[in-house]
């Protein structure tokens, strides 16, 4: 911690000096200072009308006024960049964030040199190797994820078609870093340049990531160092494209629940990802297949499966469509890469499945296209648990089938039709059918089948005003059952908007639990600044961004968001 503060202060001093240099000598030759500020403040309120499953009203937490704030400053001088980010979680972080986010402190800082063939960074940095299945460090403030590495990174580009990255560091957790050391490298090689192909693109890539974490376990059956390798290939020929990758993680202790390192079950992990598609103007089709086995990877073994996504090293998103309708985001799939041997009828060692997407544009002037064209999108995804032979009782073990589809965990079939009728009218309708296995995805009971019908219409008035109306209905046969939702948004001009929406769980079996989740708010935008205010109720459950989810409790209150960049 002390260490962190010291480097932080040093960076502040550097940026500060640069700032004054610039202020006193206001020419571009003295560099450019830029940055941004964001705050999300919430005032949680008591709400007697918002009951939980057990008929308890919603009570405000201790410290009902909470905020997450971020200030980022960047100073660029010729080939050098200095950056620093301060974060403040005052009177504590928003509900259900990682408790390590508390107080105000310097969070990240870096100094970077960027030349034509060499880029070098010291301090905190974000990086992703390939698709991120072995290694990704990134920031997602809404989810409370910031797993930047603190250390060094070098990127070499000796020729335009070859890139080599090397990283070393310790991972950020809260305002500190973990003890474990992470190091690795990644290359990307554009072969079509070498062969001087004109219409075909071919590239190869490969990664290595090592995690060195000493263990307290006496006589461990696993190495302190876990090695992970990946190879990938990508081919594009005119309208056709294809890519594939294989990832392997060396044998390591299986962790079935956070903190429980199993010294008797030592298993490797693997991931296969295949993608192919064809696209030309007006038409696109894409298919993805993925098989994951024991692929959870954390900078500390014991962190596997923690609900805050803390110390996560790789990015395993759920490969499904990310819906923009509210009700379609109640039963959201989360990728299942981990091992769980809970009972003879409840075993997981990973997932297998994929998705298909299709997009088509009925051209303007055709029978179905009309004056402005009609756009259609279709998507189907399905994921099963890996099948195999599982031994539940001591000693636990498993052996998976390579192409074995076990218990189905999730599927989603959906299509949407987007139509512009006139210069002023625009509509979209969607149908979504989902299967969601609560046991396999949430470790809760039961299976849910849903049908969702949703529609959206936008009408433009003269003088830049417009209205957006959205209606949704979900039929669900289990859990909280049927929902209805409506949204109205009015845009006064390009700077000011207001909205009101309500999600109503009218079909709940428990009469006290048939909640309305209403919200009303507005947003004001000017240049790089946005101010938003919202009053209403937050539905408890998973809030997901990019297929990674965070659990939030039901709450009621006033939210203020402000962000700006300069």
């Amino acid at each position: 911690m002390k260490n962190n503060s010291f480097f932080g202060l040093l960076c502040i001093a550097l940026v500060w000096c640069s700032f004054w240099t610039q202020a006193q000598n206001n020419t571009t030759s003295s560099g450019v200072l830029s940055g941004g500020f964001e705050t999300n403040t919430q005032w949680y309120l008591n709400d007697k009308g918002l009951k939980d499953e057990f008929n308890n009203p919603t009570a405000q937490p201790e410290e009902p006024l909470r905020s997450n704030s971020y200030l980022f400053l960047n100073y660029n001088y010729k080939k050098w960049t200095f950056g620093i980010q301060g974060e403040a979680y005052e009177q504590n972080a928003l509900l259900n964030m990682n408790p390590k986010f508390n107080g105000t402190n310097v969070a990240t800082y870096f100094v970077q040199y960027k030349g034509d063939q060499l880029e070098a960074t010291a301090g905190y940095f974000y990086e992703q190797f390939g698709s991120g299945l072995l290694f990704r460090s990134w920031e997602d403030r809404a989810l409370g994820i910031n797993n930047a590495l603190r250390g060094g990174r070098v990127i070499l580009k000796p020729v335009s078609h070859f890139t080599l990255k090397m990283v070393y560091g310790q991972q950020r957790t809260g305002f500190d870093v973990t003890d474990a050391q992470i190091f690795g490298g990644d290359f990307e090689w554009g072969l079509s340049k070498v062969f001087k192909w004109e219409t075909t693109d071919l590239s190869l890539g490969g990664s290595y990531v090592g995690r060195y974490e000493k263990t307290d376990i006496v006589n461990p059956n696993f190495d302190a160092l876990t090695n992970a390798y990946a190879g990938r290939i990508s081919l594009t020929h005119q309208s056709f494209y294809l890519s594939g990758e294989y990832n392997y993680k060396s044998p390591d202790a299986v962790v079935q629940a956070p903190g429980q390192i199993d010294n008797r079950l030592i298993k490797p992990g693997s991931a296969i990802l295949l993608n192919m598609g064809y696209s030309k103007k007006g038409f696109g089709i894409d298919g993805t297949f993925r098989r994951l086995e024991n692929m959870g990877f954390f900078s500390e073994r014991a962190a596997k499966g923690n609900v805050f996504n803390d110390r996560i090293m790789n990015f395993i998103p759920s490969l499904t469509k990310q819906h923009h309708y509210n009700l379609a985001n109640i039963y959201v799939y989360q990728a299942q890469p981990n091992v769980l041997l809970a009972g003879s009828d409840f075993v997981k060692a990973g997932e297998i499945g994929g998705q298909i997407d299709m997009f088509y544009d009925f051209k303007k002037g055709t029978a179905l296209g009309g004056k402005y064209g009609t756009k259609v999108a279709m998507n189907f995804s399905n994921y099963n648990a890996l099948s195999g032979t599982f031994f539940i009782f001591n000693p636990q073990d498993y052996d998976t089938d390579f192409l074995g589809f076990g218990q189905r965990m999730f599927s989603d079939f959906n299509f949407e039709i987007t139509k512009k009728w006139t210069n002023k009218w625009f509509t979209q309708v969607s149908y979504i059918k989902q299967y969601y296995n609560r046991q396999y995805i949430e470790d809760a009971a039961g299976e849910v089948n849903t049908h969702i019908v949703a529609g959206e219409a936008i009408y433009k008035f003269d003088k830049g005003q417009s209205i957006r109306v959205m209606g949704e209905h979900m039929w669900a046969d289990y859990d909280r059952k049927n929902w209805a939702a409506a949204t109205v948004e009015f845009n006064f001009n390009s700077k000011f908007s207001m909205y009101v929406y309500d999600l109503y769980n009218y079909g709940n079996d428990l009469s006290h639990y048939r909640n309305h989740y209403y919200n009303i708010g507005g947003a004001f935008r000017n240049k790089a600044t946005r101010l938003g205010i919202n009053y209403g109720r937050q539905r408890g459950g998973l809030v997901c961004v990019g297929g990674v989810c965070r659990f939030v409790p039901e709450s009621s209150g006033l939210t203020l968001t402000f962000n700006t960049s300069f």
């Binding site: 450019v32 991120g132 007006g282 064209g373 756009k375």
Partner: protein, 158 residues
């Protein structure tokens, strides 16, 4: 520490808006590396750089609407639209078929780990900037239906 935070915050409001593009490497749909302020530098040309994602409804509406007018605009102005997808590995594979299915004529770039988005401190998308001769001259934060008219008026002034 708290005081330093607020001091820095205060100082940030005294500075002027970011005017140049940061030097960040993106990739195009063929997987080639692209740096905005090196590869898109035609003199006096207006570059409309729009940040979007496959899961962002308003972003897609904005780019669809722009597609209906862009040919007319090009008759009057020397401009190019660059649509920077901030999709991460979850949805990035949907970018190419979606762009084809929509028939968008834009230059598409991928900001997979959101390096450019972060460097410009963009919190919400859609977010559109207009760049001319390497300088950011206009920012449109968010999108409301019908804002093409005000964007065109602005472009004519630049």
């Amino acid at each position: 520490m708290k005081n330093i935070f607020f001091l820095l915050l205060l100082s940030s409001f005294l500075t002027t808006a970011q005017s140049t593009l940061p030097e960040v490497t993106l990739t195009n749909l063929e997987g080639k590396s692209v740096v905005l302020n090196r590869d898109f530098v035609e003199k006096d040309k207006l570059y409309i750089i729009s940040f979007w994602a496959t899961w962002c409804g308003p972003c897609i509406n904005e780019l669809d609407e722009l597609n209906d007018v862009i040919e007319d605009w090009k008759k009057e102005l020397n401009l190019e639209v660059i649509a920077v997808s901030t999709d991460d590995a979850r949805t990035q594979k949907r970018v190419k078929p979606l762009v084809s299915g929509k028939g968008w004529p834009y230059t598409i770039l991928l900001d997979t780990n959101q390096d450019l988005k972060r460097a410009l401190t963009i919190v919400n998308i859609p977010y559109t900037i207009v760049v001319k001769n390497g300088q950011i001259l206009h920012i449109q934060n968010g999108y409301v239906p019908g804002s093409e008219a005000s964007l065109l008026a602005k472009l004519k002034q630049l």
